[in-house]
């Protein structure tokens, strides 16, 4: 067992966000593992409160992580942006991880339906089955290579559930640009997935 101190320290992230906001690249790098950890912990704690079999909403989760990490102490969108970038990436990894695990279990011949909560966290992806999610993730990775900002728009809007206005604030562009980026990114992903199949 980890001793008690194995927890994210809210002061730590506040500091990191501030420094990342001031352009400290090293600080920005260190945010992701913290946010990832906190999201997983939160997901596990939330599962405790939900009835078994229920799932969690990524958006709610991210926003709660934001509050719990003391994010409200960050009035600046500039430093918020780093949190949401990290949260989007962390949420992508969690979802993909979960989908892969379930996928592997199914193909590993596990007879009984294994609840994803068995892995300690469970995130809703009602609309997508695991395979669709994995395919989307592959396409998303291709998009990251092709045009990282448009991929960021998809992650923030689709995975984190930010509104277009919020996405615009995080990226520091205007809302119209975000709308255009989103349309492009969606068409691009759809095209990519269609070709993969």
């Amino acid at each position: 067992m980890w001793p008690e101190d194995h927890r994210v320290n809210p002061g730590e992230i506040t500091l990191l966000l501030r420094r990342a906001g001031e352009g400290d690249a090293q600080a920005a790098d260190r945010i992701l593992p913290l946010v990832y950890e906190e999201l997983r912990r939160l997901a596990a704690a939330r599962m405790a409160q939900e009835a078994p079999g229920q799932t969690l909403q990524p958006t709610a989760l991210v926003h709660e992580a934001w509050l719990r990490l003391g994010g409200e102490a960050q009035p600046e969108w500039k430093s918020r942006a780093h949190f949401f970038f990290a949260a989007a990436e962390a949420m992508r990894r969690i979802l993909v991880d979960k989908a892969r695990r379930k996928h592997a279990l199914r193909h590993g011949g596990a007879l009984q339906k294994v609840s994803a909560s068995a892995t300690g966290f469970d995130v809703a992806a009602q609309d997508l089955d695991d395979e669709a999610l994995l395919r989307l993730n592959d396409a998303l990775e291709a998009l990251i290579a092709h045009d990282a900002r448009k991929a960021e728009v998809i992650k923030l809007w689709y995975l984190v559930g930010l509104t277009l206005e919020e996405v615009a604030q995080v990226l520091g562009v205007n809302e119209k640009t975000v709308r255009r980026d989103l349309a492009y990114a969606k068409a691009w992903l759809f095209d990519e997935i269609s070709r993969q199949r």
Partner: protein, 1254 residues
């Protein structure tokens, strides 16, 4: 933006020919670009339903879910349900207010106009319903396609029956929820609404702040659809019908069918209760399906259902076991619970003859509550003879055998009288049993916030079983860890109805005007100064009144128009009537008592006026006309003097407000107009007069007094704001609203509230206490709540000041008075001074990097710049703090479990170790771990010199674990590297082996000396969640994602014994040092197992998981006591041998926690609010509960239980506490619990931090 993306996005805005022309121009000869953009445009067209919205809301109607409905003013967003009668959508309402609602579109071919007309007929009554367990139906109308629809409050949650089963709610928990449903139905019945369609799908359980709240939905819909919904369903097919008609009362099947009353709902409640308790409805849906409609009709109208307990007994073994399991019990016990009272209660609801059912749903609720409290229930017939006769009439044979049985009983009873000794023993056993039940009930009530009642149960438990010595500490834990307002002096009784009350400006007098008399009490000596007949003061139409600051004069006014000012002492008029046109809504004295301000609305013609009078001469000094519409006017509370009396603030109930000079009435800022939202006429000046807060229908807005310029954004509420209060230092603002919240705002950052104080009831008024440490609120449930303004938490047990119709506070906020609803008495209360916890160390809440370690007799608190040492048990610092070197500010620190060492992670990412016992300032690092890595975590192994650091190695993408000897600072050669992130690590007791659990990879064992991985991994079936070596190092316990713990032999990696299975993931586990027992924790409970047999040794120790407060952590210091803390910070201590509570669960009021420790003398919590150490009352003292402790508990509870176990309030006054204190003072200091009694009774401001202290 890339060219491709640009062209694509621009092309999207165009269509057809324009698009072609544009593409031609934009791409020119670049065929690749052209092809790419066209491919994307095609993808865009085809992929319209691809990623329709954010993942979280991914349930947005997919095209396959059928024809889309269009409803004016509503935007359908998501299909959330479908039933026989129609489809339910999640929708957003645009007007008149923006909110999410559920919209039910009726499927059947009904006459839409008729449905809406019928709904309209009842709309007014429906709007009158206001109950937390009723979901409102807002609106009915027709969709664009002409189908009727209903818009109602959105309730997200499972059905009541489903909720109870999935959460395995026990019978009492089920009954508690059901009682709330009854109360909701009762409320509706009182308002004249019959539901007509109560069934599981119409009773949902929503989750509010972790509380499970049952909500009855669909009120008014059955009536509007005239039952055709159900009838029609019957004919449309047997499939859809099941589930609906079995909840219908016999009279609803009557072809005449118009004679339905509230008792029909009682029947349906009975069916619901039947199913909730026994797991099956009274009639089997399968039988129903066979008989068709006619068969069904006959069944429900003619066949008596069997009792729930009999029905359950008749089920197959497996079915019965499953149902019992869902109720957290076994089948035999379940039948035992049902048999008797519960059977009778349910059967009384299901009587065919409705005159035999409960008269009201409230009566049913009461009977269930009687049952929960082990009191006689009304449902039982007065004598058994009645039922016997009924039974005999039906079953002649059975009657004969019953008669024989009765005869035998008589014989046995006669024999029993001879054996008096045995009887006494039985009596004693019964008393012990009763005592145990009282303890359980008491604990539950205390946890539910009904602390006074709970205390009364504990007192009764101690009285009925004086041999139970364990109750002493339990009582003390309630009295010491929770805050109760302390009464001041004696209660003042008054005669008649309360009309007005107030403290004098100097706080030395209290004035009360009751309907029959008028009183002024001198507070320091409690003397009644005057009492005379006040009928002269008030005229019938009077609605407002005001005392002057010295309580010498009283002004009153109302519909008569004029204002009358009286000399309070003589009852003679002090001035001639001050004339006003229309109806007076405000009258008040200025702070210096020189002026009187008044306001009146002029009636139907519209218009209003405010007047300023000379309070001595009665001369009119200013008259301010207001040109307002009739419905605007100036509401009560719309006129306010500034604190220095130089300005007058007037707010209308519409769009205007302004500030005038006193007494001349010259406008200072006027007119101030507000377009939206409309004002509701309550305003307040800040204490320094610089700001005013003006309330409106959506909250409030702060303005600068000098300029009238708005300050900050609008302070939003979900409903209007009915009251605002500034803090005494003027830095904060509390807004009260019927939306059941008080929002606390910092004037320095108004963008969002600092705290939202949820009341569950509309909030009427509030004030800050002296020093602004607390906010006192009065809500529509007539409960006074006292909140800690630093944490936003309740500071005082919420049920202590209940049934309060009015409160008043002194000008300095040091005391307040409450006026009871059912007692004509004014009670004065002291603010709860001091801290919440009995002992909170002097921590610095602004500094969050706090770690601590706990090594009796000292505790070490490690801030980010210093280490402080606190002596136990006095909880006072033992030596000056030792500071870290000034140039080294660690951003996180970890202390060793023995408190000897501290590790600090520095800003640079380095980690250093210091020894703490050094008397000189900490200066020289013992070891410089010297890492600069992401995700660095360090920890000490308890009881061993090992120090471990764990981090991600970015080069190899591996996770590394490094070990040092913290004594010598030498690094142990081993580097443990795992490919995936280690979930769990444990080191064997001899420090030889490291076990590393990884997700999906089982458990790897590494030899620390050789640095090699040992042979095969132990492989768990799913991801490993916990790893533990046994104290002798021979066993390894591994918990995994299948919620089981398995044991392995370390030497051979062979599995040992049976897996210990749990319903939820295992979050913590520990070997007892006796090598025999093993303790596991899940979110729902703590279990103690015998390793060898896999058997549970004591009943599971369970918190109230059904209340949404799961366990967060468990701690065992020695094997005797198990301490747990829940996610809401409630601490429970259990005896590991019996599973019994050692103390009453107590809230630590911490949010985010970093550490939790408990010994048999202390509980310590390290959280974002600081470190609190809770000294525990002496446990296991073999001493009877002293009489003074019972009296103190009774006085604190302010009441006792009557013989029906109902709480009877008997508030104690200050003298009662004083006499108990005198009694304790006479006892020797070492008598049981005396130190604690003295400490509890000492003024919180003057007592030491710990009862054990100094």
């Amino acid at each position: 933006m890339s060219r491709e993306a640009d062209v694509f996005a621009d092309a999207l805005d165009l269509s057809g020919g324009e698009r072609r022309v544009f593409l031609e121009q934009a791409c020119g000869a670049d065929a690749v670009l052209r092809a790419r953009v066209e491919a994307l445009l095609v993808a865009h067209e085809k992929g319209r339903s691809f990623l329709p919205g954010p993942l979280a809301q991914a349930h947005v109607a997919s095209p396959s879910s059928g024809e889309a409905e269009v409803i004016p003013h509503y935007r359908l967003m998501e299909r959330i349900g479908e039933g026989g009668c129609g489809v339910v959508w999640l929708a957003e309402q645009g007007e008149p207010l923006r909110r999410q609602v559920a919209v039910k579109v009726i499927k059947l071919g009904m006459d839409t106009k008729e449905v809406i007309a019928r709904f309209d007929a009842e709309r007014h009554a429906l709007a009158m319903m206001d109950h937390p367990n009723i979901a409102h139906v807002f609106d009915a109308g027709a969709t664009a396609a002409g189908r009727p629809f209903f818009a109602m409050e959105l309730v997200r949650g499972p059905r009541l029956t489903e909720f109870c089963d999935t959460n395995r709610l026990t019978m009492p928990a089920r009954l508690e929820l059901f009682v709330q449903v009854c109360r909701a139905i009762q409320h509706a019945h009182v308002k004249g609404i019959i539901h007509r369609d109560i069934k599981p799908s119409n009773v949902l359980v929503a989750s509010h702040d972790g509380l499970s709240v049952p909500k009855v939905i669909d009120f008014g819909i059955a009536k509007a659809t005239a039952g055709r919904l159900t009838d029609h369903t019957l004919y449309t097919g047997i499939e859809q019908m099941i589930g609906t008609p079995i909840y219908m009362s016999p009279e609803q099947f009557d072809p005449a069918g118009h004679d339905i009353d509230t008792r029909s709902d009682i029947y349906s409640l009975g069916v619901l209760l039947y199913e909730l308790l026994s797991g099956r409805p009274p009639f089997d849906p399968a039988t129903l399906a066979d008989g068709g409609l006619e068969g069904l009709r006959r069944l429900i109208r003619e066949t008596d259902p069997i009792k729930p307990s009999t029905r359950l007994s008749a089920l197959g073994h497996d079915e019965r076991a499953a149902i019992a399991r869902q109720r957290g019990t076994d089948p035999q016990h379940l039948v035992r619970i049902l048999r008797g009272d519960l059977d009778w209660i349910v059967m009384r609801c299901l009587e065919k003859d409705r005159s035999r059912r409960y008269e009201t749903a409230g009566e049913l609720a009461r009977d269930l509550e009687h049952f929960l409290r082990r009191e006689p229930v009304a449902a039982r017939p007065p004598g058994t003879l009645y039922r016997f006769a009924r039974l005999a009439a039906r079953h002649k044979v059975l009657a004969a055998s019953l008669a024989t049985a009765a005869a035998i009983l008589v014989l046995v009873a006669a024999g029993a009288t001879a054996v008096a000794v045995r009887a006494r023993r039985a009596e004693q056993a019964e008393a012990q049993q009763a005592s145990r039940t009282d303890l359980t009930l008491g604990s539950r009530l205390i946890e539910d916030g009904r602390v006074s009642e709970g205390l009364a149960f504990l007192v009764r438990a101690a009285q009925s079983d004086p041999g139970n010595h364990a109750i002493g500490p339990r009582l003390l834990s309630v009295l010491a860890y929770r805050n109760f307002p302390r009464p001041i002096g004696r209660a003042f009784a008054y005669a008649g109805l309360l009309r007005d009350s107030g403290y004098s400006a100097d706080g030395q007098q209290l004035g009360i005007v009751a309907s029959d008399r008028r009183y002024v009490w001198s507070l320091p000596d409690g003397k009644l100064q005057q009492a005379n007949d006040p009928r002269v003061f008030f005229h019938d139409g009077d609605v407002v009144s005001a005392w002057s600051g010295d309580l010498r004069r009283l002004a009153a006014g109302g519909r008569e128009g004029s204002i009358r000012v009286w000399d309070a002492a003589s009852g003679e008029p002090a001035l001639r009537p001050l004339p006003h046109e229309g109806s007076v809504t405000n009258v008040l004295f200025s702070p210096d008592q020189r002026w009187i301000a008044s306001a009146a609305n002029h009636g139907n013609a519209g218009g209003a006026s405010v007047k300023i009078w000379d309070a001595v001469s009665g001369e009119l000094r200013a008259s301010l006309p207001f040109d307002v519409e009739r419905r605007e006017g100036i509401p009560e509370g719309g006129v306010r003097f500034s604190p220095d009396g130089s300005r007058l603030l007037v707010t209308t109930g519409g769009t205007q407000w302004g500030i005038w000079k006193v007494p001349g009435g010259e406008p200072a800022i006027w007119p101030q107009r507000v377009v939206s939202p409309r004002l509701n006429g309550k305003g307040a000046f800040s204490p320094d007069g610089r700001f005013v807060a003006i309330t409106d229908l959506k909250g409030a807005q702060l303005y600068e007094t000098a300029t009238g310029a708005p300050v900050g954004p609008h302070l939003d509420h979900e409903d209007q704001c009915g009251y605002v209060a500034f803090s005494r230092d003027g830095t904060r603002l509390a807004t009260c609203s019927p939306d059941e919240q008080v929002r606390l705002w910092l004037l320095s950052s108004l963008a969002k509230p600092q705290f939202v104080l949820r009341h569950g009831f509309g909030v009427q008024s509030a004030f800050f206490t002296a020093g602004d440490g607390h906010l006192v609120t009065l809500a529509s449930d007539e409960v006074v709540r006292i909140w800690n303004t630093a944490t936003g938490e309740l500071a005082v047990e919420p049920d202590r000041l209940a049934k309060v119709q009015r409160m008043a506070v002194t000008g300095d906020g040091r005391e307040f008075v409450t006026f009871g609803r059912f007692e004509n008495a004014a009670r004065r209360w002291q603010m709860p001074a001091g801290s919440l916890a009995p002992a909170q160390t002097a921590t610095d809440p602004k500094r969050r990097n706090v770690r601590f370690s706990f090594q009796v007799p000292e505790a070490y608190v490690c801030f980010d710049d210093r280490v402080e040492t606190i002596a136990l048990p006095t909880l006072r610092p033992t030596r000056p703090p030792r500071y870290f070197p000034a140039n080294v500010v660690p951003k996180a620190a970890v202390t060793s479990f023995d408190g000897l060492d501290v590790a600090a992670i520095l800003e640079s990412g380095k980690c250093e170790l210091w020894n703490l016992r050094e008397e000189t300032p900490i200066r020289h690092p013992l070891a410089n771990v010297g890492m600069n890595r992401a995700g660095l975590r360090v920890w000490f192994k308890p009881g061993s010199p090992l120090f471990c650091a764990h981090y991600h190695d970015p080069e190899s993408l591996a996770c590394r674990l490094d070990f040092w000897d913290r004594r010598s600072g030498a690094k142990i050669r081993t580097e443990v590297r795992t490919a995936s992130e280690p979930n769990q690590v444990d080191v064997s007791p001899d420090d030889r082996l490291v076990a590393v659990g990884t997700a999906g990879h089982g458990v790897e064992l590494w030899d620390l000396a050789s640095g090699r991985k040992l042979g095969d991994s132990v492989v768990a079936p799913v991801a490993v969640t916990g790893v533990r070596f046994s104290p002798d190092g021979r066993l390894l316990a591994v918990s995994s994602g299948d919620h089981a713990v398995r044991f392995w032999k370390v030497e051979t990696r062979e599995a040992v014994g049976l897996p210990l299975k749990h319903p939820y993931p295992v979050t913590n586990q520990k070997f007892c040092s006796d090598h025999r027992r093993f303790v596991t924790t899940t979110w729902s409970e703590v279990r103690v197992w015998e390793i060898a047999t896999g058997a549970q040794l004591v009943p599971s120790m369970s918190p109230r998981i059904e209340r949404g407060d799961p366990l967060e952590a468990m701690w065992m210091d020695d094997d005797r006591m198990i301490a747990t803390i829940s996610t809401k910070g409630v601490v429970r201590l259990f005896d590991s041998a019996t599973g019994q509570l050692l103390l009453e669960p107590f809230p630590t009021r911490s949010h985010q926690r970093y550490g939790f420790r408990a010994t048999d003398r202390y509980v310590a919590v390290n959280s974002d609010t600081g470190i609190s150490i809770w000294p525990l009352p002496p446990l296991g003292l073999q001493a009877p509960v002293p009489g003074w402790l019972l009296r103190l508990a009774t006085a604190t509870a302010g009441g006792t239980l009557d013989r029906f176990a109902a709480f009877r309030a008997q508030p104690a006054d200050a003298e009662t506490f004083e006499s108990i204190r005198r009694e304790i003072d006479r006892l020797p200091a070492n008598a049981p619990y005396v130190a604690w009694g003295r400490w509890i009774l000492t003024d919180p401001g003057r007592r030491p931090p710990s009862p054990e202290g100094d």
